[in-house]
Symmetry: C2
Amino acid sequence: MYKCSLERMSDKIRTFAKYGDAGHGGITRYSLSPEANMARAEFKKRMEAIGAKVECDDVACMYATIEGSDPNAKRIVMGSHCDSVKNGGNYDGILGVMTGMEVLETVVKENIPHKHPLTAMIWTNEEGSLYPPAMMVSGIICNDYLPPELAKNFKYENMMKSKPMDESEFANFGEALAASPYKGDKANRISPDKYCAMFEAHLEQGPILEDNGNEVGAVQLVMGMFNYRVRFHGFTAHAGTFPMAKRHDALYAAAAFLCEMHKRFDELNEGQDPEFVYTTGEIYVHPGIHTCINDEAEFSLDVRHPDPELRQKVMDILKEMAAEEWCKCTCDIEEQWVRDTVYFDKNLVGFVEESMEEMGVKWQKILSGAGHDAQFCAYMIPTTMLFARTKAGLSHCEDERVSDEDCTTVATATLNAVLKADKFYD
Amino acid sequence: MYKCSLERMSDKIRTFAKYGDAGHGGITRYSLSPEANMARAEFKKRMEAIGAKVECDDVACMYATIEGSDPNAKRIVMGSHCDSVKNGGNYDGILGVMTGMEVLETVVKENIPHKHPLTAMIWTNEEGSLYPPAMMVSGIICNDYLPPELAKNFKYENMMKSKPMDESEFANFGEALAASPYKGDKANRISPDKYCAMFEAHLEQGPILEDNGNEVGAVQLVMGMFNYRVRFHGFTAHAGTFPMAKRHDALYAAAAFLCEMHKRFDELNEGQDPEFVYTTGEIYVHPGIHTCINDEAEFSLDVRHPDPELRQKVMDILKEMAAEEWCKCTCDIEEQWVRDTVYFDKNLVGFVEESMEEMGVKWQKILSGAGHDAQFCAYMIPTTMLFARTKAGLSHCEDERVSDEDCTTVATATLNAVLKADKFYD
């Protein structure tokens, strides 16, 4: 049982929190921004300080590698991202990067024997906050291995044209990439030829570990999901001149649908399975003027659950409801995307669970409701994830918190799981 | 009984429809735009052709006047606006301008005796579509006569700074006005010193006349109204990681409130009084991302009814509901504005009703749910309005339609009411 250093981990947490510090507890650190470059420079400096070789690929992913005893063995990689959402926190992404760094530092400092080269990695542009979509670069790198309906959304040429969603000195992602000091060779990309396993440590971003009194979680899968647009069509008229009885108010229809949808979905989920989640995050109305009745209303619906049968039942309810009339308005629904559940590699999940058990920490099996680079990487090479307890389940906000102790615990669990994988793979 | 000319009215309708023609049945004719200037030039040309004297005031309102037999009598004015909303129709505003023109043309052509000078008028910037707010210039001109809580929203200095909401060559309303060829002298403004009565003909913008099989309506009042923002506060979390049972979803709260509000308001309005209308035209959510639960949701609420007691009861329900918890979210409400019911001048309303009755047309008493320049003018001089039947109640859209016959009928009713006022006033 090897252990990572709380002191070293704390120092990394405090240091990386400076790069993009928004002045009130969190950061804004868009991918390829000057702030992200500061974090990347820190990564490079610290990794070179322990003798790691730092390489970059053509989409600016960074790889810091220490050799193992077998010059022919494939690399085991620990990676996540260093970019954040706007006004995000100090853990989402960077925790997995710091974990990789901490594992390498521990291995070097404690001279831990290992056969495989070990790599700490930064995935570029996971959030997609400045240049959408999210998980852009893992979508590019793993493209040949993704199901076709996913792969088509992450074609290299299209991704290069992605326009900034906020202020930027570059017209698109391709230009930002061309100007990046961390753009390297395509030959350096993570691939099945050179890598045998990928671990991603992340904060949970939900309240389940905390509610159960557990410090860390062994992630089993990333839940399947579907995303729809639900639209209502009425007609517009003047707020002051058109009698209530004759109105076909699209926003009223959307509100009535939304309430009834909660009722029917919750009836389906009688047992209150906490893994079944659905969210209406966006809403749009037309004409959207306070003196007009809306003729159009539209909301997004995001539904997640590991079981495809339950997701199908939810979709059946949705289709049934869309065929009904809502406050004299018609309804139609349009699929935006559907993703299957991604199961993580059984061997790697087992190594993570054994490590947590041997460490004597409070842990549990857990599912991921959020998407991560590991989810795409899992189509390409054996992959798994570890979660750290998140204060109040808050994430993608400046109040995002993981204790230094829990960060160190997830790093230690990663280290020991990596050492098990090191023994397992040729 | 004098009658206006269907042929002349039809010609005006076709002609004015060209100025701002958007190419698919309607117009975009912002106030003080080149398109509005074409309409103003047409007005000037036609009015001068019948011997009217055309004057402009300092806020570009235009007045075309033919003298009466008494050189000391005050003017009787018929006016409305020639500006439209974006992609509006060929009747809103311009119908009242064409009515004034048609009345003057008929009086001149038929040599109808009258004591008072008669004026056809264009009010500047009623819609406020390019430079808000709506009814800007009547708000400026009638400012000294408005209740203080209304007057403060239309101060001359502030109005001049109004910034364009769409493309414009001018930085604000003041600059557009300074550049207008129709800017004249402040002394020419409509005022109680020089004017004894104002008539505004308008399309109904609702379906009531059509549903009742009536051609025209004698408007009694402009309904009082209040406008609120209704806000919900929950907290945000990730769509994939946060269990349903722990969510405080502000959009869900807004939807539940909206549905319950319809229920309680409709219970209050048991008798289905068609004059009671309420509208939720705008909705806003934060963060408004499909992968996030919303922590904030807000909608606008516009409530109209002539009776202040009923409006108070509605407000009481609203306050009662705001004090409750909605889907674990808190609610607060904020008043945007409150306007009392404006009753039109009893004598003038009577003249309109007598005229319609004498004409043998199908008419009714009607209320205005929409705001008009006449509503502000009524605080300053005796004022009333006439409504023309609107196809399907559609307005502020390119499908806005009034038959040429109904346009002519409302002009004839105006003519005869004006002649009654001409006899009534010294």
